[in-house]
């Protein structure tokens, strides 16, 4: 009797864990190429556990969803970027408005439960089997290969498992890929969504139509904790909050919710929120040093790790990016997985095609370019003294207190005298900034 060699029994070609931007984009790409895909999310609805600051540099989404900006539930098109230094008494801004940023659209604000529900719908329409409300407990390993996932009593098998389970990625830890992350690589984001009438937002932020503004701040917004504050306009709400690097938050002995409240109550910030109604208070762990984090492996035989789970986040000081890198890593992973399925080869070498695809895209390049940004942003002068120094220079210029005026150079010199930052250091910070950021 001839025993026929059974092909490996699988329930799906691929199982994707986590319904964020990375997971949904990857599942969609695979289903679009007629692969059978299961998308598992632990939320009661896909996306209900997800939270972002809210600016999505969304050009990459056109690759997966042509017409993304018109079709998807995005809030506002960001064409005004403000970089701000906040001190207890001052608010110094670089205010950059540019029509070119909306032609074509470069960035949008999003609220994740709305966006992720839409992404999930696209997945379902493309044939992805979506399974919300299920927590994956562990990976199934056989002979050094990931062959499926375990959720409670259930086992589900696939040729490839895609871990898109976010910053805490218990699955990457389960696979022995990630160890406990040093606290200086991580930050906690604490965010409020404040409802205001559309016209009020447009008036307060000087906006027209669906255009929006994004503020990135350092200084008193975090009470000098390394990290920053953000304020983004949605259609009829404002997303505002702080991002606090865990090692520094711990060292300074501050309470995360109080730092958040201190920021929202700042005399330069409170007027933006006046008479607003709190829609949601939330928080999320985020990555401060993505380039350091992604240095671990991104694959095992039968496994690829994408998005935040892999460490694809960049804080360049000016732009804070996660969702675009999540989408791009998902597209790279899908390309690799399709090749692996075609060749019926799920070995380490086959999975490593993912790394090659990343290196071909802007993700690999940008992670290298901004390798030194986190070290630059560790400079503690950034979070207190720099803002004070800038406000003292401007105060010297605008405060006509009946004393005879001095030239700008002398005014700046006086501000430097008062500040612990030396001119030489300032030049150093400037040079380091243009090189690292």
């Amino acid at each position: 009797m001839v025993v026929e060699q059974e092909p490996t029994e699988v329930d799906f070609d691929a199982i994707v864990i986590g319904g964020g931007v990375a997971g949904t984009v990857c599942a969609y790409q695979l289903a679009k190429e007629s692969r059978s895909v299961l998308l598992i999310d632990r939320g009661a609805e896909v996306g209900s556990k997800n939270l972002s600051g809210g600016v999505f540099y969304c050009r990459v989404m056109e690759q997966a969803f042509p017409g993304f900006v018109e079709e998807a539930p995005v809030e506002r098109v960001i064409n005004r970027n403000c970089v701000s230094f906040l001190s207890p008494t001052s608010f110094v801004n670089i205010d950059y408005w540019d029509q070119r940023l909306s032609e074509p659209v470069n960035a949008v604000t999003v609220l994740r439960t709305k966006l992720d529900a839409w992404l999930c719908e696209q997945c379902e329409n493309a044939g992805v089997v979506v399974m919300p409300g299920v927590r994956v407990d562990s990976l199934i390993m056989e002979g050094g290969q990931v062959v499926g996932v375990r959720a409670g009593e259930d086992e589900l098998r696939a040729h490839v498992v895609v871990a898109a389970d976010g910053v805490n990625s218990f699955l990457a830890q389960d696979a022995g890929i990630r160890a406990k992350e040093p606290t200086k690589h991580l930050a906690v984001g604490v965010k409020s969504v404040v409802k205001l009438p559309r016209e009020v937002i447009e008036d307060r932020f000087n906006l027209t139509g669906n255009q929006g503004a994004a503020y990135a701040m350092v200084g008193d917004c975090t009470q000098s904790v390394a990290g920053g504050g953000f304020m983004y306009t949605n259609r009829d709400s404002i997303s505002i909050g702080v991002v606090l690097r865990l090692d520094d938050l711990e060292a300074k002995g501050l309470t995360s919710s109080e730092v958040h409240d201190h920021f929202l109550a700042h005399p330069a910030i409170a007027p933006f929120l006046k008479d607003g109604e709190l829609l949601e208070y939330g928080c999320h762990l985020t990555i401060e040093d993505g380039p350091a984090m992604v240095k671990h492996d991104l694959t095992r035989p039968g496994l690829v790790i994408i998005g935040d789970a892999a460490g694809f986040t960049l804080n360049t000081g000016l732009t804070i990016r996660g969702m675009d890198l999540a989408a791009a890593s998902a597209i790279a992973a899908a390309t690799a997985v399709i090749k692996a399925l075609d060749a019926n080869d799920f070995s380490q070498a086959a999975m490593d095609v993912y790394q090659q695809e990343l290196d071909k895209s802007f993700v690999g390049a940008d992670m290298k370019t901004y390798e030194r940004a986190p070290a630059f942003l560790e400079n503690s002068l950034m979070y207190e003294e720099l803002g004070l120094l800038m406000s003292d220079v401007f105060h010297g210029v605008f405060n006509l207190d009946l004393t005879p005026r001095k030239h700008l150079l002398a005014t700046a010199r006086m501000a430097f005298k008062k500040s612990p930052i030396k001119v030489k250091q300032m030049v150093g910070i400037g040079l380091a900034a243009v090189r690292a950021l």
Binding site: R42, G43, A44, E45, G47, S48, K49, N50, L51, S52, L111, R112, T113, K114, L115, D116, P132, G133, V134, R135, A151, G152, V167, N168, F170, K180, E181, T183, L186, V188, V190, S192, V193, S237, L246, L249, E250, G253, L254, T255, S256, S257, H260, D261, L264, A265, A270, L278, L279, E280, Y281, G282, C283, H284, L285
Partner: protein, 96 residues
Amino acid sequence: MAEFGSITERLDRNHFEPDEEESHIEVDQAAAKATGAGPLLVRICPAHVYSIQAHGSVGVTYQACLECGTCLAVAPPGTLRWHYPRGGLGVSYREG
């Protein structure tokens, strides 16, 4: 800021489906006491899940957890067991 109320009042606006059968957070009280982890957990958690009880142990209101994982990232080794709540349970954001 007073207008938004206490953290508890703010969280009351969120939707939670608490797991009535098991807590997804467990503090090793002896280890927490030895390492002094309690006050750190209290400060760091944006949802005020942790509290110091009258007799010095660390109280856990796991039902209010926003599932960010910050406590796990900072907790000294051995003081905290923390995983995600069971599927479908815990917080559901409505804005995100």
